[in-house]
Symmetry: C2
Subunit: 377 residues, 2 copies
């Protein structure tokens, strides 16, 4: 009855829907769902806004709106359907009620019970693992928070050809081409939050806004032990456009806290704000799945050494400064063999005269499995 190539075809469509929800549904995963019978699409949907209907329910609603009977149909979902009552009733119940005959999920949801049990009771076939790697990548932030208690962290920097993120005076405007700046500002949309250190917030005074401001734009996060952020900073000035979260230590003066609170800045006290592990756990408790860390050198050094970056997004500009501030402050690996290795997610992207590289932590290979290598030569 089941055809693997058809499963892959429809799951790919569900995954594309899921990517549209990146950055919009935290702490929930932005699941995608496609409902199909006899090779024909009956309806599709995604979890588009936190607190509102889940992907399965949206897809079933579309089937109904289009007058498509769902009895005997197959539902493709990028993450196993929920089994428990949350803000919404469990999706397994909705799928059963709609007469679905088969459910195909890409990856399991560690936050839920196994849906195979209630589905089997309703005589629904349940298959899991179709395009599991791709789904684990798209829902990687959610799976990290649920599994490790912290968001997936992506380290991002723009550097010169001689490996500097700023001149020796701290100037970094601009390393990337206009095309690369525009691309990286659009990219912010797919993250739940953008984080910088106090030094970068002070020196660069960035707004950290995505160029596409939608119903849910990334939270701007600043780490500052003393909760220091100028009241006339761009982050405070643009508070109305997106939330700002200040992660600070217990020693932060009450005056600083009160001033920021008066501007609507969220305050989040962490015992050790200089400890990347403690900060990552705090971001997880806040509910963030995908966090982009934009530096500066102190942050990059500490997070790289702590092994907390899961992904990297690099922009290599077309200039040399002849010596300036490096990417990672501090002292790292003793030997090159001890350096952390990364895997390219894709080919280098050419954006004007800037080259964008995107990498991830290499997957743990099964015994005898060979890594995939992309090569020109």
């Amino acid at each position: 009855m089941t055809d693997p190539s058809q499963d892959i075809r429809w799951m790919r469509r569900a995954l594309r829907l899921a990517t549209l929800s990146l950055g919009r549904t935290w702490p929930n995963p932005g699941v995608g769902c496609v409902i199909v019978r006899d090779g024909r699409l009956l309806g599709e949907g995604r979890h588009a806004v936190f607190g509102q209907a889940h992907a399965e329910v949206n897809a079933l609603s579309q089937c109904q709106a289009l007058g498509n009977d769902t009895a005997g149909a197959t539902a493709y979902v990028t993450l196993a359907p929920c089994t428990r009552h949350g803000k919404q009733p469990p999706c397994t119940t909705a799928l059963i009620a709609a007469g679905i005959a088969r459910v195909v999920a890409a990856v399991s949801d560690p936050n839920q019970d196994d849906p195979a049990i209630p589905l089997a009771e309703a005589s629904i076939t349940y298959d899991e693992g179709c395009l599991a790697l791709a789904a684990a990548q798209i829902h990687g932030g959610f799976l990290s928070r649920v599994g490790l208690g912290r968001p997936r962290l992506t380290g991002k920097w723009a550097m010169t050809l001689d490996g500097c993120i700023a001149t020796h005076t701290g100037d970094s405007t601009w390393i990337s081409s206009t095309a690369a700046l525009n691309f990286s500002r659009r990219r912010r949309r797919v993250f739940d939050a953008i984080m910088v250190g106090a030094g970068t917030a002070y020196h660069d005074d960035p707004s950290l806004l995505s160029s596409l401001v939608g119903e849910r734009t990334p939270v701007r996060v600043v780490i500052s032990r003393n909760a220091e952020l100028r009241e006339n900073s761009m982050l405070v000035a643009t508070r109305a456009k997106a939330a700002v979260l200040m992660i600070h230590g217990p020693e932060a003066p009450a005056g600083n806290r009160a001033a920021l609170a008066s501007h609507g800045i969220d305050l989040w006290e962490v015992a050790k704000p200089h400890d990347p592990v403690a900060v990552a756990a705090a971001l997880g408790r806040y509910g963030l799945n995908e966090v982009l860390v934009e530096g500066g050198a102190q942050i990059h050094g500490a997070y790289l050494r702590a092994g907390l970056y899961d992904r990297l997004e690099l922009y290599v500009g077309a200039q040399t400064v002849g010596g300036g501030i490096g990417v990672a402050a501090g002292i790292g690996a003793e030997l090159m063999n001890d350096a952390r290795h990364w895997q390219h997610e894709d080919r280098p992207l050419v954006l004007g005269d800037t080259i964008c590289l995107r990498l991830r932590r290499p997957p743990v290979l099964a015994p005898g499995e060979e890594p995939v290598v992309v090569e020109d030569d």
Copy 2:
């Protein structure tokens, strides 16, 4: 009579011949020549080995060997034919004697007189400028030495994703993938010389040999004020495979000089070996056209700040060290706006998990001329 598209077609073939001579003919340029009549190739040749026949003479010899009469033919040469007696008689004389009707040259040779005069006296049409930019690139080393008194210098380094050429202990084995190491060792062949600083020669103990050892392999150049190079170093041990040139200062102890001379190392005294301009001029006086500078950080910093690199060849490995030795030691530009800008020669090359970037000094644009931009997005 003349067809620009035919001129471009045959000149392109002559330029391809010229690229085969890169690294083989210094201090001469490795010129290519193609002889054509009525759209038919009669013969071709290149200046293949220093001291032996020039491209035009080799091409005419091939015509003769193939029984092809050259009367009324067109000769395409990548550099204007020589007019003066050197190690070889002037090529203009050979072209006239062969009854050539038209000579097309890509770029002029600042070392020679204008060939248009003797050619016109023999009623030969002379056209210059076909594919001039490409020829100026291929013969760029020779044109730099003749015009500026120094070789074209290409800075080369391999760096980690966090912009380090070594760990804080100085270890750099290996940043590049096997595919990239093999590629970069093959690439050495097209340079007349490979240069490193004394620190790199000491710490890395490289052989600096090309993986393709031919009749003329690159000279290995070391800059060391005191002429310090261990007698048990790889460079000394491999002396039989390729020449080694030691650039040192006047203060170099006689003992060091004598020891190196006894191993067949060439010694070249420079008043200020720490001054990149002085070293570049010395390399030019030695007759080198194309020099690859492989570091380390002191050299890269000094040469980048002095504006002496004409090209860059970068290898970005797929690892992070979390803080180590940067590309350029010392203090460079104050502001990012003052950084030196580069132009990509080509798209990034993917070599295993290493990305190779090749850039050059941007050309000076004519008024109103727009730079060429390669873009994905």
